[in-house]
């Protein structure tokens, strides 16, 4: 079967939307720790943290441009360790996708459809993403192509529409409490780069696998720009303490803007963009996990796995968290930090060590 290919541009759009959706959903630089008015600095710092993780995640992929993590893992560590690593990644994708979907569903219920059960929203978003994953990565790539301009325009428009409300004095004083809060604020946004573990599956699907790392860095950079603007904007409009305490700060910020008598309630735009971004992200996570699982279980087509996965993933998203506050509790640096870091560092670390050992061996020979 010829392997489906996506352009690196499509990979860029996918990764950008995936990460920017997090900005829209809960602005981790503000809500996860106590960075307060220095949140935008934490966002800049998070870019470097994220970039480091990208090198760790994607670095091996470009050395094996035709292989997913399971197949190059087999070459480096052998069959069973590679399968185990594949399963760890599937677990990571499951947690990320389930959490993203849960947050979205909670936001929709609290903002628009108070009488609708959250189960319904989760299952329908998951089902939609399963359909996209079933159609294949090419289709997801094309969807990303179409959605990217709409997504970016909505986010940028709502940011710029908020400009008149800004009071820059809220951003002062800078570094009032030293470097600690900034560092703590940067932890969660950095480890959210665990999303980019999808690179380990997507790289061989790109037209130019060797450039996938650069593509991911560009996506991270672009989304960091949005993150910095959103963090600064939310603080400048809502004030540092309110921006860090509300559940969906970006949302609340946009809700506070009123362009004219007639144009208010711009948060609809943001919700739509969030839905688009979530759809692209979760489809990719589903696709990646199904691909990995198919390799681990030696199933001929990953598509066979998507049906059962829909059920499992939806129930996980439902039962992993009691409510939205538990999701927030999960995103404390002390909880999510070690958890996500281990999901990235354990498998990738093992692979890098194995790779380094075999490389030195080859050199000696």
């Amino acid at each position: 079967m010829p392997r489906e290919k996506i352009a690196n541009r499509q990979l860029l759009f996918i990764l950008f939307m995936m990460r920017t959706t997090i900005v829209i959903s809960f602005l981790p630089v503000l809500t996860s720790a106590d960075a307060l008015q220095d949140g935008w600095l934490a966002a800049i710092l998070a870019f470097f943290g994220g970039a480091a993780f990208i090198f760790i995640i994607g670095g091996l992929g470009i050395r094996f441009p035709q292989d997913t993590i399971v197949s190059y893992g087999t070459k480096i560590l052998g069959k069973w360790p590679a399968k185990l690593i594949g399963l760890v990644l599937v677990w990571a994708f499951l947690v990320i996708a389930a959490t993203d979907t849960r947050l979205y569903a909670e936001a929709i219920v609290s903002g628009y459809l108070p009488d609708t059960p959250v189960e319904f929203l989760i299952v329908s978003m998951m089902a939609l993403s399963v359909l996209a994953a079933y159609a294949g990565i090419e289709v997801i790539g094309r969807c990303a192509d179409v959605l990217f301009p709409l997504f970016t325009a909505s986010v940028l428009f709502s940011l710029f529409a908020a400009l008149p409300q800004i009071s820059l004095s809220e951003l002062q004083p800078v570094f009032a409490r030293g470097f600690g809060p900034v560092l703590r604020g940067a932890i969660v946004p950095s480890i959210i780069t665990a999303q980019y573990l999808s690179l380990t599956v997507l790289t061989p699907h790109t037209n130019a696998p060797k450039k996938a790392l650069g593509t991911a860095l560009w996506a991270l950079a672009a989304s960091s720009v949005i993150l910095v603007m959103a963090a600064a904007g939310a603080v400048a409009i809502l004030g540092p303490s309110r921006a860090s305490r509300v559940t969906f700060p970006f949302f609340v910020m946009v809700r506070a803007t009123q362009l004219s008598e007639f144009l208010e309630r711009l948060e609809v735009l943001v919700t739509v963009a969030w839905g688009f971004g979530l759809f692209v992200g979760v489809s990719v996570f589903l696709f990646c996990s199904a691909r990995l699982l198919a390799e681990v279980l030696n199933v001929s087509s990953y598509r066979l796995l998507l049906g059962p996965m829909l059920v499992l993933w939806s129930s996980f998203s439902l039962h992993a968290y009691r409510d939205v506050f538990q999701v927030y509790a999960f995103f404390k640096p002390s909880v999510a930090g070690p958890f996500a870091a281990s999901l990235i560092l354990l498998p990738m670390g093992l692979l890098w060590i194995g790779y380094a050992i075999s490389a030195t061996r080859r050199k000696k020979q």
Binding site: V139, G141, R142, C143
Partner: protein
């Protein structure tokens, strides 16, 4: 000219009583096989009688027996109303009178060649050797000439049936541009293309499809521009069709699509030769069907269905503006009623307060939920539209009166429908008619009902769900291998010059990227006009 080279098998014993009985009792496929396989005999009367036997008592097949020179018996066969009467008379004159001046001494084959080379003053003469070939020739307007002692027949081109004159296509009118539309005759249609594209590289291949109708279907493309794989694929898809009859291009369209279950048109139909010509120049391929004034153009992408010839004939700002309007109305035609239902049902807070109060006031006393109201009004509108198409022109205004005044006005006055719903329905209807291609407009209109349902049950979330579902479907469609959403997804920057907006002709230097392999340039780099330098 081609000589019959078919090896003559043992002639079937068709003159016996048994064979006649066989033919009478044979079913349609056996009859077709007999007519196709039976070769001509040297005897004139045998051939004539078999022809009459196989065509039954069809009165419109005329057989004129005559003599060439002094003693050679011959017969001319034609279908009334299909062969040109004057050409026929000229032919008979040549064979019966002019042949007197020519000393015909030879017999058989030699005489046959002589007639063909020196007497038959028509443009095209060919030889055939089976009854089936004679029949298919005379049913396309030619004259068949049988000569005693020769087991072949001469077919002389004499096509002259009545055809409609090219007129302005009623379904695709334009403000500016050609007023010429295709007609039902394949030859006229191909000539319209030839007149527009005069290169020798415009190739037109003709196939015969339909076991009983034997309809001529032409593939037109520019050799060297259209991809070879595309043409091979199209040819093989056409050859795969095994149907008894092709009466309209729609029969072919359904049998060559990539995904037969999609509601979206994967092939563009058009009545306009200028549209076909411009598509050929973009390396697309056209399929013309005899008896249909509509050509099929393929492969197509979604944006094509939002383009109209006027966009290219008007100046760029105007053309681009109306094109953007068309995209917006396409979206409105699809989602407006669904959005209205969603907002009024679930999200009043999204509307400015005064607007919402006004809508709420107009809904006062309406006994139905808003979704039911919108659904029934949409249904009513679709029925009115359908009735409007089928209605004789003379009573056309009646339906307008009944539809607009009686139903619309009375329903509002009676308080059964709110005026705001009528406004939404009317807006949607107008929007859906500004999508220039009918098949796309109707697809959007049908999908609209789904959006009303989603909006009614799940609010804006439902509408977004529907949009994403539609997007997955559209992104997975292909038309002859070309992604349907190109150049939006996959995004192709070079092709955006003629997509949602149109750039100036001098800026359109390349053809669509996915359609052309090598020579992609349409014009030179220095095409931009500028005033003379002082």
């Amino acid at each position: 000219m081609q000589r019959c080279t078919v090896k003559r098998p043992k002639p079937p014993a068709r003159e016996t009583k048994n064979a006649k009985l066989d033919l009478d009792q044979a079913d349609i496929s056996e009859r077709e096989a007999i007519s196709k396989e039976t070769l001509l005999e040297p005897g004139l009367s045998q051939n004539i009688s078999f022809l009459q036997q196989i065509s039954g008592k069809s009165d419109d097949i005329s057989v004129r027996r005559f003599r060439i020179g002094e003693s050679i018996s011959a017969a001319a066969v034609a279908v009334d109303g299909m062969a040109d009467q004057r050409v026929m008379e000229d032919l008979l004159h040549a064979l019966m009178v002019d042949s007197q001046h020519l000393k015909i001494t030879a017999r058989g084959r030699a005489m046959f060649d002589m007639l063909r080379e020196r007497l038959l003053i028509v443009h095209e003469v060919r030889e055939v050797c089976s009854i089936g070939d004679v029949f298919s020739a005379i049913t396309s307007g030619d004259v068949g000439i049988f000569i005693d002692g020769v087991s072949e027949a001469l077919i002389c081109d004499a096509k002259g049936w009545q055809a409609r004159h090219p007129s302005e296509p009623t379904t695709e009118t334009t403000v500016r541009g050609s007023r010429e539309g295709f007609v039902e005759s394949l030859a006229t249609n191909t000539s319209m293309l030839r007149r527009r594209i005069r290169t020798s590289s415009l190739w037109i291949e003709v196939l015969e499809i339909g076991s009983l109708t034997k309809t001529q279907v032409a593939i037109a493309y520019i050799k060297g521009l259209a991809k070879e794989e595309l043409i091979t694929e199209l040819r093989s898809r056409l050859e795969r069709i095994e149907i008894d009859g092709i009466l309209e291009s729609g029969y072919i369209e359904e049998q060559i699509e990539d995904q037969p279950f999609s509601i979206f048109p994967l092939v563009r139909r058009t009545e306009r030769p200028d549209v076909v010509a411009s598509s050929l120049l973009e390396a697309r391929v056209a399929v013309l069907t005899d008896g249909t004034p509509q050509a099929l153009v393929l492969p197509v992408e979604l944006p094509i269905f939002f383009q109209a010839p006027d966009d290219y004939y008007e100046k760029v700002p105007i053309g681009s503006f109306i094109r953007v309007l068309r995209w917006l109305s396409g979206v409105a035609a699809l989602t407006l009623p669904g959005l209205y239902v969603a907002v009024v049902n679930f999200h009043h807070e999204l509307l400015p307060t005064e607007l919402f109060l006004r809508i709420a006031a107009t809904r006062q006393g309406v006994p139905f939920p808003v979704a039911v109201e919108v659904f029934f009004m949409e249904l009513l509108f679709e029925i009115l539209r359908e009735a409007g198409i089928r209605l004789p022109a003379a009573i056309g205004p009646a339906i307008t009166i009944v539809g607009a005044l009686v139903l619309g006005e009375a329903a509002i006055r009676a308080g059964m429908v709110s005026p705001s719903v009528v406004i939404v329905i009317a807006l949607t209807a107008i929007a859906s008619f500004s999508v220039p291609v009918f098949s796309m407009g109707i697809a959007l209109r049908i999908l609209r009902f789904g959006f009303i349902f989603l909006g009614a049950v799940f609010g804006l979330f439902g509408v977004q769900f529907g949009i994403l579902l539609l997007l997955i479907h559209l992104c997975s469609l292909r038309s002859f291998g070309v992604p349907y959403m190109a150049p939006l997804g996959p995004f192709i920057w070079q092709d955006m010059k003629d997509n949602i907006v149109r750039l100036w002709w001098w800026a359109q230097r390349s053809r669509p990227q996915l359609l052309v392999e090598e020579d992609n340039t349409r014009q030179s780099e220095h095409a931009k006009p500028r005033p003379p330098r002082p």
